[in-house]
Amino acid sequence: MTPFGGYDMPVSYAAGVLKEHLWTRAHAGLFDVSHMGPAFLTLTTRSGDPAADHAAVSALIEPLISGDIAGLAPGRLRYTLLLNADGGILDDLMVGRPAAAERQGELYLVVNAATKPGDFALIAEAAGAKGRLTRADDGALIAVQGPEAAAVVEAMIPGVGALGFMSFAPFAFEGESLIISRSGYTGEDGFEILSPASLAETLWERLLADERAWPIGLGARDSLRLEAGLPLYGHDIDATTSPLEAGLAFAVSKRRLKAGSLRGAARLAKEAAGGLSRLRIGLSVEGAPAREGAEIAGPDGAPLGLITSGGFSPTLGAPIAMGYASPAFATPGADLRVTVRGRAQAARVTAMPFVPQRYHRPATQPET
Protein backbone atom coordinates (compact mmCIF):
# COMPACT_ATOMS: atom_id res chain seq x y z
CA MET A 1 0.00 0.00 0.00
CA THR A 2 1.14 3.54 -0.64
CA PRO A 3 -0.21 6.95 0.43
CA PHE A 4 -1.85 8.86 -2.45
CA GLY A 5 -3.87 12.05 -2.14
CA GLY A 6 -4.70 11.29 1.49
CA TYR A 7 -5.72 7.67 0.78
CA ASP A 8 -3.95 4.34 1.21
CA MET A 9 -3.84 2.76 -2.24
CA PRO A 10 -2.53 -0.61 -3.43
CA VAL A 11 0.50 -0.21 -5.74
CA SER A 12 -0.49 -3.54 -7.20
CA TYR A 13 -2.63 -6.58 -6.52
CA ALA A 14 -1.31 -10.16 -6.68
CA ALA A 15 -0.22 -10.11 -10.35
CA GLY A 16 2.21 -7.19 -9.97
CA VAL A 17 2.51 -3.91 -11.88
CA LEU A 18 3.93 -5.30 -15.13
CA LYS A 19 1.34 -8.07 -15.62
CA GLU A 20 -1.53 -5.80 -14.50
CA HIS A 21 -0.46 -3.20 -17.06
CA LEU A 22 -0.25 -5.70 -19.94
CA TRP A 23 -3.55 -7.33 -18.90
CA THR A 24 -5.34 -3.96 -19.10
CA ARG A 25 -3.97 -3.34 -22.62
CA ALA A 26 -5.13 -6.83 -23.73
CA HIS A 27 -8.31 -7.46 -21.69
CA ALA A 28 -9.98 -5.42 -18.93
CA GLY A 29 -8.65 -3.85 -15.75
CA LEU A 30 -10.70 -2.78 -12.71
CA PHE A 31 -9.50 0.28 -10.83
CA ASP A 32 -10.89 1.45 -7.51
CA VAL A 33 -10.63 5.21 -8.01
CA SER A 34 -12.96 6.10 -5.13
CA HIS A 35 -10.29 8.51 -3.86
CA MET A 36 -11.28 10.89 -6.66
CA GLY A 37 -13.82 13.65 -6.16
CA PRO A 38 -17.18 13.28 -7.89
CA ALA A 39 -19.67 16.07 -7.16
CA PHE A 40 -22.72 17.80 -8.59
CA LEU A 41 -23.16 21.51 -9.12
CA THR A 42 -26.84 22.39 -9.26
CA LEU A 43 -28.72 25.64 -9.75
CA THR A 44 -30.46 26.69 -6.55
CA THR A 45 -33.46 27.88 -8.53
CA ARG A 46 -34.22 26.44 -11.96
CA SER A 47 -36.28 28.35 -14.48
CA GLY A 48 -37.64 25.17 -16.06
CA ASP A 49 -36.25 26.19 -19.45
CA PRO A 50 -33.59 23.47 -20.07
CA ALA A 51 -31.37 25.61 -22.33
CA ALA A 52 -31.49 28.62 -20.03
CA ASP A 53 -30.80 26.46 -16.97
CA HIS A 54 -27.77 24.86 -18.62
CA ALA A 55 -26.47 28.30 -19.62
CA ALA A 56 -26.98 29.52 -16.05
CA VAL A 57 -25.15 26.63 -14.35
CA SER A 58 -22.34 26.85 -16.94
CA ALA A 59 -21.93 30.53 -16.11
CA LEU A 60 -21.25 29.57 -12.46
CA ILE A 61 -18.24 27.39 -13.23
CA GLU A 62 -16.88 28.75 -16.52
CA PRO A 63 -15.08 31.71 -14.92
CA LEU A 64 -12.89 29.21 -13.01
CA ILE A 65 -12.02 26.82 -15.82
CA SER A 66 -10.47 26.69 -19.28
CA GLY A 67 -13.27 24.99 -21.18
CA ASP A 68 -16.52 25.78 -22.92
CA ILE A 69 -19.28 24.30 -20.77
CA ALA A 70 -22.11 26.39 -22.23
CA GLY A 71 -21.49 24.69 -25.57
CA LEU A 72 -21.31 21.14 -24.20
CA ALA A 73 -23.96 18.86 -25.74
CA PRO A 74 -26.42 17.05 -23.44
CA GLY A 75 -25.01 13.76 -22.16
CA ARG A 76 -21.41 14.73 -22.89
CA LEU A 77 -18.35 15.11 -20.67
CA ARG A 78 -15.45 17.45 -21.16
CA TYR A 79 -11.88 17.30 -19.79
CA THR A 80 -11.08 20.77 -18.53
CA LEU A 81 -8.72 22.68 -16.25
CA LEU A 82 -9.29 24.74 -13.14
CA LEU A 83 -7.10 27.84 -13.49
CA ASN A 84 -5.64 30.36 -11.07
CA ALA A 85 -5.42 34.10 -11.76
CA ASP A 86 -2.06 33.59 -13.54
CA GLY A 87 -3.47 30.96 -15.89
CA GLY A 88 -1.72 28.20 -13.91
CA ILE A 89 -3.46 24.84 -13.48
CA LEU A 90 -5.07 24.23 -10.08
CA ASP A 91 -6.47 20.88 -11.18
CA ASP A 92 -7.63 18.89 -14.16
CA LEU A 93 -11.20 17.67 -13.99
CA MET A 94 -14.19 16.31 -15.88
CA VAL A 95 -17.36 18.33 -16.30
CA GLY A 96 -20.47 16.63 -17.64
CA ARG A 97 -23.88 17.91 -18.81
CA PRO A 98 -26.71 15.46 -18.08
CA ALA A 99 -28.73 14.27 -21.07
CA ALA A 100 -32.19 14.47 -19.51
CA ALA A 101 -34.19 17.66 -20.03
CA GLU A 102 -35.31 17.63 -16.38
CA ARG A 103 -31.65 17.51 -15.21
CA GLN A 104 -30.56 20.70 -17.03
CA GLY A 105 -29.11 23.18 -14.58
CA GLU A 106 -26.94 20.44 -13.11
CA LEU A 107 -23.30 19.53 -13.88
CA TYR A 108 -21.42 16.35 -12.98
CA LEU A 109 -17.85 17.05 -11.85
CA VAL A 110 -14.95 14.72 -11.08
CA VAL A 111 -11.80 16.26 -9.59
CA ASN A 112 -8.55 14.76 -8.27
CA ALA A 113 -8.21 13.34 -4.76
CA ALA A 114 -5.54 15.64 -3.30
CA THR A 115 -7.18 18.76 -4.74
CA LYS A 116 -10.73 18.09 -3.52
CA PRO A 117 -10.79 20.57 -0.61
CA GLY A 118 -9.39 23.47 -2.64
CA ASP A 119 -11.42 22.77 -5.78
CA PHE A 120 -14.72 22.35 -3.97
CA ALA A 121 -14.19 25.48 -1.89
CA LEU A 122 -13.42 27.52 -5.02
CA ILE A 123 -16.41 26.21 -6.95
CA ALA A 124 -18.83 26.64 -4.03
CA GLU A 125 -17.57 30.18 -3.48
CA ALA A 126 -17.93 31.08 -7.16
CA ALA A 127 -21.45 29.61 -7.26
CA GLY A 128 -22.48 31.58 -4.17
CA ALA A 129 -26.20 31.58 -3.52
CA LYS A 130 -26.99 30.68 -7.14
CA GLY A 131 -25.65 27.12 -6.99
CA ARG A 132 -25.24 24.23 -4.62
CA LEU A 133 -22.21 21.92 -4.71
CA THR A 134 -23.02 18.40 -3.52
CA ARG A 135 -20.06 16.09 -2.96
CA ALA A 136 -20.54 12.49 -4.04
CA ASP A 137 -17.17 11.18 -2.85
CA ASP A 138 -18.88 9.14 -0.14
CA GLY A 139 -19.77 6.73 -2.97
CA ALA A 140 -17.45 4.48 -4.94
CA LEU A 141 -15.89 5.29 -8.30
CA ILE A 142 -14.77 2.22 -10.23
CA ALA A 143 -13.02 2.38 -13.59
CA VAL A 144 -13.12 -0.53 -16.05
CA GLN A 145 -10.54 -0.07 -18.79
CA GLY A 146 -9.27 -2.08 -21.72
CA PRO A 147 -10.38 -3.58 -25.04
CA GLU A 148 -12.72 -6.02 -23.24
CA ALA A 149 -14.14 -3.43 -20.83
CA ALA A 150 -17.26 -2.84 -22.91
CA ALA A 151 -18.08 -6.56 -23.08
CA VAL A 152 -17.51 -6.97 -19.32
CA VAL A 153 -19.70 -4.03 -18.30
CA GLU A 154 -22.38 -4.62 -20.95
CA ALA A 155 -22.86 -8.19 -19.67
CA MET A 156 -23.78 -6.77 -16.26
CA ILE A 157 -25.43 -3.50 -17.19
CA PRO A 158 -27.09 -3.77 -20.62
CA GLY A 159 -27.05 -0.59 -22.68
CA VAL A 160 -23.70 0.89 -21.57
CA GLY A 161 -22.10 -0.22 -24.85
CA ALA A 162 -24.17 2.40 -26.66
CA LEU A 163 -22.35 5.24 -24.87
CA GLY A 164 -19.75 7.01 -27.00
CA PHE A 165 -16.40 8.21 -25.68
CA MET A 166 -16.86 11.13 -23.25
CA SER A 167 -20.59 10.50 -22.82
CA PHE A 168 -22.37 9.57 -19.60
CA ALA A 169 -25.80 8.47 -18.42
CA PRO A 170 -27.57 6.93 -15.42
CA PHE A 171 -28.09 3.15 -15.45
CA ALA A 172 -30.13 0.97 -13.11
CA PHE A 173 -28.26 -1.70 -11.14
CA GLU A 174 -29.63 -3.74 -8.23
CA GLY A 175 -32.42 -1.24 -7.71
CA GLU A 176 -30.09 1.77 -7.52
CA SER A 177 -28.88 4.30 -10.07
CA LEU A 178 -25.27 4.29 -11.24
CA ILE A 179 -23.73 7.13 -13.22
CA ILE A 180 -21.60 5.59 -15.93
CA SER A 181 -19.31 7.54 -18.21
CA ARG A 182 -17.36 6.21 -21.18
CA SER A 183 -14.04 7.66 -20.12
CA GLY A 184 -10.86 6.86 -18.26
CA TYR A 185 -7.20 7.66 -17.95
CA THR A 186 -5.39 4.71 -19.51
CA GLY A 187 -5.73 5.46 -23.23
CA GLU A 188 -8.05 2.46 -23.57
CA ASP A 189 -11.77 2.24 -24.15
CA GLY A 190 -13.62 1.93 -20.87
CA PHE A 191 -15.96 3.28 -18.25
CA GLU A 192 -15.98 5.08 -14.94
CA ILE A 193 -18.86 4.04 -12.69
CA LEU A 194 -20.13 6.12 -9.78
CA SER A 195 -21.98 3.88 -7.34
CA PRO A 196 -23.57 4.39 -3.93
CA ALA A 197 -21.28 3.01 -1.22
CA SER A 198 -23.92 0.41 -0.32
CA LEU A 199 -23.51 -1.23 -3.74
CA ALA A 200 -19.75 -0.75 -4.16
CA GLU A 201 -18.73 -4.19 -2.96
CA THR A 202 -21.41 -5.98 -5.01
CA LEU A 203 -20.41 -4.03 -8.10
CA TRP A 204 -16.68 -4.70 -7.61
CA GLU A 205 -17.20 -8.42 -6.86
CA ARG A 206 -19.55 -8.89 -9.83
CA LEU A 207 -17.11 -7.20 -12.21
CA LEU A 208 -14.23 -9.22 -10.78
CA ALA A 209 -16.18 -12.46 -11.26
CA ASP A 210 -15.74 -11.96 -15.02
CA GLU A 211 -12.51 -13.76 -15.89
CA ARG A 212 -11.65 -11.04 -18.43
CA ALA A 213 -11.31 -8.49 -15.60
CA TRP A 214 -8.38 -8.22 -13.17
CA PRO A 215 -7.99 -5.74 -10.32
CA ILE A 216 -5.28 -3.18 -11.16
CA GLY A 217 -3.29 -1.11 -8.67
CA LEU A 218 -1.94 2.42 -8.68
CA GLY A 219 1.40 1.35 -10.20
CA ALA A 220 -0.10 0.16 -13.47
CA ARG A 221 -2.61 3.04 -13.48
CA ASP A 222 0.43 5.33 -13.55
CA SER A 223 2.36 3.44 -16.25
CA LEU A 224 -0.81 3.17 -18.41
CA ARG A 225 -1.54 6.90 -18.30
CA LEU A 226 2.15 7.68 -18.93
CA GLU A 227 2.09 5.56 -22.12
CA ALA A 228 -1.14 7.33 -23.12
CA GLY A 229 0.66 10.69 -22.77
CA LEU A 230 -1.79 11.89 -20.11
CA PRO A 231 -0.44 14.28 -17.46
CA LEU A 232 -0.70 13.52 -13.74
CA TYR A 233 -1.73 16.50 -11.63
CA GLY A 234 0.92 17.54 -9.09
CA HIS A 235 3.66 16.01 -11.24
CA ASP A 236 3.32 16.91 -14.93
CA ILE A 237 1.04 19.89 -14.35
CA ASP A 238 0.67 22.18 -11.35
CA ALA A 239 -0.18 25.76 -10.36
CA THR A 240 2.88 27.10 -12.25
CA THR A 241 2.14 25.40 -15.58
CA SER A 242 -0.30 26.86 -18.06
CA PRO A 243 -2.56 24.72 -20.26
CA LEU A 244 -0.56 25.70 -23.33
CA GLU A 245 2.80 24.86 -21.77
CA ALA A 246 1.32 21.50 -20.81
CA GLY A 247 0.22 20.80 -24.39
CA LEU A 248 -3.43 20.88 -23.33
CA ALA A 249 -4.60 23.54 -25.80
CA PHE A 250 -7.50 21.21 -26.73
CA ALA A 251 -8.89 21.87 -23.23
CA VAL A 252 -8.83 25.65 -23.74
CA SER A 253 -11.97 27.10 -25.28
CA LYS A 254 -11.06 29.08 -28.40
CA ARG A 255 -14.20 31.17 -27.98
CA ARG A 256 -13.26 32.10 -24.41
CA LEU A 257 -9.56 32.62 -25.24
CA LYS A 258 -10.56 35.05 -28.00
CA ALA A 259 -13.03 36.79 -25.70
CA GLY A 260 -10.37 37.17 -22.99
CA SER A 261 -12.73 35.63 -20.45
CA LEU A 262 -10.29 33.02 -19.09
CA ARG A 263 -8.39 33.45 -15.84
CA GLY A 264 -4.82 34.40 -16.74
CA ALA A 265 -6.11 35.65 -20.11
CA ALA A 266 -3.07 37.87 -20.80
CA ARG A 267 -0.58 35.03 -20.27
CA LEU A 268 -2.66 32.56 -22.26
CA ALA A 269 -3.08 35.01 -25.15
CA LYS A 270 0.67 35.67 -25.23
CA GLU A 271 1.44 31.96 -25.17
CA ALA A 272 -1.17 31.20 -27.83
CA ALA A 273 0.55 33.80 -30.04
CA GLY A 274 3.83 31.86 -29.80
CA GLY A 275 5.28 33.27 -26.58
CA LEU A 276 5.88 29.96 -24.81
CA SER A 277 8.95 29.54 -22.61
CA ARG A 278 8.54 25.77 -22.13
CA LEU A 279 6.51 22.86 -23.43
CA ARG A 280 5.62 19.44 -22.09
CA ILE A 281 7.45 16.86 -24.19
CA GLY A 282 7.57 13.09 -24.44
CA LEU A 283 10.92 11.34 -24.40
CA SER A 284 12.03 7.86 -25.45
CA VAL A 285 14.96 7.14 -23.17
CA GLU A 286 17.90 4.82 -23.82
CA GLY A 287 19.32 2.83 -20.93
CA ALA A 288 18.05 3.17 -17.38
CA PRO A 289 14.55 4.63 -16.86
CA ALA A 290 14.67 8.40 -16.23
CA ARG A 291 12.25 9.18 -13.42
CA GLU A 292 10.65 12.31 -11.96
CA GLY A 293 13.23 14.97 -11.13
CA ALA A 294 15.88 13.81 -13.63
CA GLU A 295 17.44 16.64 -15.64
CA ILE A 296 16.81 17.08 -19.37
CA ALA A 297 19.72 18.63 -21.29
CA GLY A 298 20.33 19.65 -24.87
CA PRO A 299 22.79 17.87 -27.17
CA ASP A 300 25.51 20.21 -25.87
CA GLY A 301 24.71 19.33 -22.25
CA ALA A 302 23.00 22.64 -21.43
CA PRO A 303 20.14 22.08 -18.93
CA LEU A 304 16.67 22.49 -20.46
CA GLY A 305 14.26 21.31 -17.78
CA LEU A 306 13.21 18.35 -15.69
CA ILE A 307 11.48 15.01 -16.14
CA THR A 308 8.06 15.20 -14.45
CA SER A 309 7.02 11.54 -14.94
CA GLY A 310 9.09 8.68 -16.17
CA GLY A 311 9.50 4.98 -16.00
CA PHE A 312 9.49 1.78 -17.95
CA SER A 313 6.82 1.28 -20.61
CA PRO A 314 5.60 -2.33 -20.36
CA THR A 315 3.93 -2.10 -23.78
CA LEU A 316 7.02 -0.78 -25.56
CA GLY A 317 9.56 -2.66 -23.42
CA ALA A 318 11.63 0.50 -23.03
CA PRO A 319 11.83 3.57 -20.81
CA ILE A 320 9.64 6.60 -21.56
CA ALA A 321 9.23 9.92 -19.81
CA MET A 322 7.56 13.31 -19.98
CA GLY A 323 8.98 16.61 -18.88
CA TYR A 324 9.49 20.21 -19.90
CA ALA A 325 11.92 21.83 -22.32
CA SER A 326 12.10 25.08 -24.24
CA PRO A 327 10.06 24.99 -27.49
CA ALA A 328 13.23 25.10 -29.61
CA PHE A 329 14.02 21.56 -28.43
CA ALA A 330 10.47 20.22 -28.35
CA THR A 331 10.30 18.86 -31.91
CA PRO A 332 9.72 15.11 -32.23
CA GLY A 333 12.95 13.45 -33.32
CA ALA A 334 15.20 15.93 -31.51
CA ASP A 335 18.09 14.17 -29.73
CA LEU A 336 18.43 15.31 -26.12
CA ARG A 337 20.00 13.91 -22.98
CA VAL A 338 18.71 12.94 -19.57
CA THR A 339 20.82 12.58 -16.45
CA VAL A 340 20.28 9.37 -14.48
CA ARG A 341 22.41 8.76 -11.38
CA GLY A 342 24.91 11.37 -12.56
CA ARG A 343 25.35 10.00 -16.08
CA ALA A 344 24.06 11.42 -19.36
CA GLN A 345 21.86 9.09 -21.43
CA ALA A 346 20.40 9.58 -24.88
CA ALA A 347 16.72 10.58 -25.07
CA ARG A 348 14.72 11.39 -28.18
CA VAL A 349 11.72 13.72 -28.22
CA THR A 350 8.72 11.58 -29.12
CA ALA A 351 5.17 12.60 -30.03
CA MET A 352 2.62 11.56 -27.40
CA PRO A 353 0.76 9.31 -26.85
CA PHE A 354 3.61 6.80 -26.77
CA VAL A 355 1.05 4.02 -27.25
CA PRO A 356 -1.97 4.80 -29.50
CA GLN A 357 -5.18 5.65 -27.67
CA ARG A 358 -8.11 3.36 -28.45
CA TYR A 359 -11.18 5.30 -27.39
CA HIS A 360 -14.66 4.28 -28.54
CA ARG A 361 -15.82 6.95 -30.98
CA PRO A 362 -18.92 5.93 -32.96
CA ALA A 363 -18.84 7.35 -36.50
CA THR A 364 -22.02 9.30 -35.79
CA GLN A 365 -20.66 10.96 -32.65
CA PRO A 366 -19.94 14.66 -33.01
CA GLU A 367 -16.63 16.06 -31.77
CA THR A 368 -17.05 18.17 -28.66
Binding site: S12, G16, V17, K19, H21, A288, P289, F312, R341
Partner: protein, 121 residues
Protein backbone atom coordinates in the same frame (compact mmCIF):
# COMPACT_ATOMS: atom_id res chain seq x y z
CA UNK B 1 25.04 -19.66 1.00
CA UNK B 2 25.15 -16.63 3.32
CA UNK B 3 22.67 -13.74 3.62
CA UNK B 4 22.41 -10.10 4.70
CA UNK B 5 19.50 -8.46 6.46
CA UNK B 6 19.13 -6.33 3.28
CA UNK B 7 18.20 -9.51 1.39
CA UNK B 8 21.37 -10.22 -0.57
CA UNK B 9 22.89 -13.69 -0.82
CA UNK B 10 26.56 -14.63 -1.11
CA UNK B 11 27.88 -17.96 -2.41
CA UNK B 12 31.64 -18.56 -2.04
CA UNK B 13 33.86 -20.45 -4.48
CA UNK B 14 37.54 -20.10 -3.55
CA UNK B 15 38.06 -16.39 -2.92
CA UNK B 16 35.27 -15.31 -5.28
CA UNK B 17 31.79 -14.56 -3.97
CA UNK B 18 28.75 -14.69 -6.26
CA UNK B 19 26.17 -12.15 -5.07
CA UNK B 20 22.49 -11.70 -5.83
CA UNK B 21 19.22 -10.72 -4.20
CA UNK B 22 17.03 -13.24 -2.40
CA UNK B 23 13.73 -14.64 -3.63
CA UNK B 24 12.05 -12.56 -0.92
CA UNK B 25 13.65 -9.35 -2.25
CA UNK B 26 12.76 -10.21 -5.85
CA UNK B 27 9.16 -10.81 -4.82
CA UNK B 28 9.03 -7.48 -2.98
CA UNK B 29 10.48 -5.55 -5.95
CA UNK B 30 8.07 -6.98 -8.47
CA UNK B 31 8.99 -7.59 -12.10
CA UNK B 32 12.52 -6.35 -12.75
CA UNK B 33 12.79 -4.38 -15.99
CA UNK B 34 16.32 -2.94 -15.76
CA UNK B 35 19.53 -3.80 -13.91
CA UNK B 36 22.56 -1.54 -13.57
CA UNK B 37 25.78 -3.34 -12.60
CA UNK B 38 29.31 -2.22 -11.67
CA UNK B 39 32.19 -2.61 -14.13
CA UNK B 40 34.70 -5.43 -13.60
CA UNK B 41 37.68 -4.11 -11.64
CA UNK B 42 35.59 -1.67 -9.59
CA UNK B 43 36.35 -1.62 -5.87
CA UNK B 44 33.41 -2.37 -3.58
CA UNK B 45 33.09 -1.56 0.08
CA UNK B 46 30.68 -3.55 2.25
CA UNK B 47 27.46 -1.60 2.72
CA UNK B 48 28.06 0.77 -0.21
CA UNK B 49 25.94 0.94 -3.37
CA UNK B 50 26.78 -1.91 -5.73
CA UNK B 51 23.96 -2.18 -8.27
CA UNK B 52 20.53 -0.78 -9.09
CA UNK B 53 17.54 -3.00 -9.76
CA UNK B 54 14.50 -1.32 -11.31
CA UNK B 55 10.86 -2.34 -11.52
CA UNK B 56 8.21 -0.54 -13.60
CA UNK B 57 7.53 1.67 -10.61
CA UNK B 58 10.84 2.32 -8.85
CA UNK B 59 14.62 2.01 -8.74
CA UNK B 60 16.13 0.16 -5.76
CA UNK B 61 19.77 0.20 -4.67
CA UNK B 62 21.54 -3.06 -3.96
CA UNK B 63 24.36 -2.76 -1.43
CA UNK B 64 27.61 -4.71 -1.51
CA UNK B 65 27.34 -7.40 1.18
CA UNK B 66 31.14 -7.65 1.43
CA UNK B 67 34.20 -5.67 0.33
CA UNK B 68 36.36 -6.60 -2.64
CA UNK B 69 36.88 -6.11 -6.35
CA UNK B 70 34.29 -6.81 -9.04
CA UNK B 71 35.47 -9.94 -10.89
CA UNK B 72 32.43 -10.17 -13.20
CA UNK B 73 28.96 -8.73 -13.69
CA UNK B 74 26.02 -10.75 -15.02
CA UNK B 75 25.67 -9.09 -18.42
CA UNK B 76 22.89 -11.56 -19.37
CA UNK B 77 20.64 -9.37 -17.23
CA UNK B 78 20.92 -6.51 -19.74
CA UNK B 79 18.68 -8.42 -22.14
CA UNK B 80 16.93 -10.62 -19.58
CA UNK B 81 16.40 -8.59 -16.40
CA UNK B 82 13.44 -10.83 -15.50
CA UNK B 83 15.98 -13.56 -14.60
CA UNK B 84 16.22 -11.75 -11.26
CA UNK B 85 12.57 -12.75 -10.64
CA UNK B 86 12.66 -16.12 -12.36
CA UNK B 87 15.86 -17.45 -10.74
CA UNK B 88 16.98 -14.97 -8.07
CA UNK B 89 19.34 -17.41 -6.33
CA UNK B 90 21.11 -18.79 -9.41
CA UNK B 91 20.71 -17.46 -13.02
CA UNK B 92 19.68 -14.04 -11.70
CA UNK B 93 22.97 -13.43 -9.87
CA UNK B 94 24.29 -9.87 -10.11
CA UNK B 95 28.03 -9.66 -9.42
CA UNK B 96 31.06 -11.83 -8.68
CA UNK B 97 33.38 -10.27 -6.12
CA UNK B 98 37.01 -11.19 -5.39
CA UNK B 99 36.75 -10.82 -1.65
CA UNK B 100 39.10 -8.78 0.50
CA UNK B 101 38.35 -10.32 3.91
CA UNK B 102 36.89 -13.83 4.46
CA UNK B 103 35.82 -12.78 7.97
CA UNK B 104 33.17 -10.50 6.37
CA UNK B 105 31.56 -13.56 4.79
CA UNK B 106 31.70 -15.52 8.04
CA UNK B 107 29.88 -12.68 9.78
CA UNK B 108 26.84 -12.97 7.47
CA UNK B 109 23.72 -14.98 8.36
CA UNK B 110 23.30 -18.62 7.41
CA UNK B 111 19.99 -19.69 5.82
CA UNK B 112 18.33 -20.58 9.13
CA UNK B 113 19.20 -17.18 10.60
CA UNK B 114 18.00 -15.40 7.42
CA UNK B 115 14.71 -17.27 7.46
CA UNK B 116 14.26 -16.33 11.11
CA UNK B 117 14.99 -12.72 10.08
CA UNK B 118 12.26 -12.92 7.39
CA UNK B 119 9.76 -14.24 9.94
CA UNK B 120 10.54 -11.26 12.17
CA UNK B 121 9.64 -8.70 9.44
Amino acid sequence: MRFTKDHEWVEMEGDVATVGITAYAAEQLGDVVFVELPAPGAALKAGAEMAVVESVKAASDVYAPISGEVAAANTDLTDNPQSVNDAPENGGWLVKIKIADPAEVEALMDRDAYEAHLRSL
